[in-house]
């Protein structure tokens, strides 16, 4: 008596075509504002709206970028940076998620740790540069630590918030099955928290990249942050913008990666706009 019938191939084909067309349309919609922005960037210096010496045309930035790609210079900076970012980000995940669950769940942990964590959270990584240098030296440790420091807060805060917004009935239901606290975290609170937590994770993903500029101000010899400061101090303005753009685009990719991971993990969700 079931009517779960597979849609036949012809319909599938139609759908595919539809996707082809609507996909194109979507791509267009998604890029139109971006393209407008880049056009503006190209035009503004051309018509003298801004001084080209300080704000080069978009094309010149692209050329500088391509030169650096060809010479392999960009890749060297890129890989130095990405390694640091991944380490810092990964450590932040390992630390902040369990800590967030702990604080979100146990009032004692909250009472004990919150004040210190809040104090640290409200301390600018930039201001802490000298302190990091003092305690951790100027090698990789201090750079990764700064990234770790910056990534921790968004994950922590969102994890705590996520725990707080889990439907109490679900927790009740799981507890009625006498599962252990650990399982409760792992099997109920974690999946229920995915959407909120991922907001924090995505924000941390950006931080991991953005903080490079500060982190690589401390005794760096390579890295995208170093490239940017270096270019700026030596008036290689197109190169500087090329560096900034690289960081932005890198952040963009990481963001989309995390987004699609989130989508996979929250496939079960009903679209609220439906």
């Amino acid at each position: 008596m079931e009517t779960v019938k597979s849609v036949d191939l012809s319909i599938n084909n139609k759908k595919l075509k539809n996707i082809g067309f609507s996909g194109l349309q979507k791509l267009f919609k998604q890029s139109i504002v971006l393209i407008a922005l880049f056009l503006l960037w190209e035009i503004a210096p051309r018509i003298g709206l801004v001084d080209e010496a300080f704000f080069p045309r978009f094309l010149n930035v692209l050329i500088a970028w391509w030169e650096m790609v060809k010479s392999g210079e960009l890749f060297a900076h890129f890989s130095a940076s990405i390694t640091r970012s991944i380490f810092g980000f990964g450590l932040a995940l390992l630390i902040a998620i369990p800590l967030g669950l702990l604080i979100g769940w146990y009032p004692l942990a909250r009472d004990l740790l919150n004040p210190v964590l809040e104090l640290f959270r409200n301390t600018a990584p930039l201001a802490l540069l000298p302190v990091f240098m003092l305690f951790l030296g100027i090698d990789e440790t201090s750079k990764i630590s700064i990234i770790l420091f910056a990534c921790t807060w968004p994950i922590l805060l969102n994890t705590i918030a996520a725990v707080g917004s889990v439907d109490p009935l679900l927790i009740k239901s799981a507890r009625s099955m006498n599962i252990s606290s650990f399982k409760l975290f792992y099997k109920v609170i974690l999946p229920a928290s995915v959407p909120t937590m991922f907001t924090g994770i995505r924000m941390a993903g950006s931080s991991a990249i953005l903080i490079l500029i500060a982190a690589e101000m401390v005794g760096a010899k390579e890295g995208l942050g170093y490239l940017i400061t270096y270019s700026q101090y030596n008036f290689m303005i197109p190169e500087m913008y090329a560096g900034i753009l690289t960081i932005s685009v890198l952040g963009l990719f990481i963001n989309y990666g995390l987004l699609s991971l989130e989508k996979r993990l929250s496939r079960w969700k009903q679209d609220p706009t439906l």
């Binding site: 239901s173 799981a174 099955m177 006498n178 399982k183 109920v188």
Partner: protein, 267 residues
């Protein structure tokens, strides 16, 4: 029928703090159930009826170990309840399915909690999915199921969990007559086979009498035991409902629920 005592409610009182509507920041105490005492025998099927808001769900939470009584105590096998346990399983009034798990996943969650080895999950889940008539819907997420289907999954989960004591809060409220009847007899069959102790909340007097060996009638505001009605029916065929004994008991429970103290209590 054994007469070993399974659960004992001893002058159980549960109060909640509620904000005062008029005075800001002040909270009052609202008593949901008060000085409630009765015992449930081992292997007994007991049904609970009472007006809306009289504290039935609260009582189930207490028995499940999810909240603690404000005063009094609840004993299971002579020991005071310290928290949830594998010996008790609950079907909640509002299903409480995990939205990120499919129908099958929700049932397997219970199996895992119970510590059933993984290789047995599939077979067990299939068995209970089939029992509640939802084999075809095993891979749907809760939001893709109808209200009655969700409720049936919650029932399947608790049956698969296979606890000693089964606590069910209006489990059949969202089911159509036929599905309801069929699940009623399934539940009776399982009960007879496994000799579980079952506390079953319902608003249907018929259901309460058909299923229960005893019907506990509660009064409202705050919840207290009004009377415990024995149901001395030998058979439980479908047509037992027209049996004169059945009709007599139904009338009795109906009368209990319509006595003056209710009038104006909630309506």
């Amino acid at each position: 029928m054994t007469t070993v005592e399974k659960i004992r409610f001893e002058r159980v009182t549960k109060s909640f703090a509620v904000r005062d509507a008029n005075k800001k920041g002040v909270s009052n105490e609202y008593t949901a159930v008060q000085d409630l005492s009765f015992t449930v025998r081992e292997g007994e099927f007991i049904t609970l009826v009472g007006p809306s808001g009289c504290g039935k769900s609260t009582l189930l939470d207490l028995t499940g170990g999810l909240t603690t009584p404000t005063r009094g105590r609840i004993l299971i096998d002579g020991k005071e309840i310290a928290g949830p346990g594998l010996d008790r399983g609950i079907v909640f009034q509002q299903y409480a399915l995990f939205p990120w798990k499919t129908a099958r996943g929700n049932i397997e969650f219970g199996l895992e909690a119970k510590g059933i080895p993984k290789r047995e999950w599939k077979e067990k889940a299939n068995y209970y999915l089939n029992l509640v008539g939802l084999s075809q819907f095993a891979d749907r997420y809760p939001h893709e199921l109808s209200g009655g289907m969700k409720q049936r999954i919650a029932i399947a989960r608790s049956l698969a969990f296979n606890p000693d004591v089964l606590l069910m809060d209006e489990p059949y409220a969202a089911l159509d007559a036929q599905t309801r009847e069929s699940l009623q007899s399934e539940l009776l069959r399982i009960w007879k086979q496994t000799k579980k102790t079952i506390i079953f909340i319902t608003h249907s007097i018929d259901e309460a009498i058909y299923l229960g060996e005893r019907v506990v009638v509660l009064t409202g505001g705050p919840g207290q035991v009004k009377e415990i009605v024995d149901v001395p029916l030998k058979s439980r065929d479908a047509d037992v409902r027209s049996h004169p004994d059945f009709v007599k008991i139904r009338q009795k429970v109906w009368n209990l629920l319509h006595e003056p103290e209710y009038i104006g209590a909630n309506i």
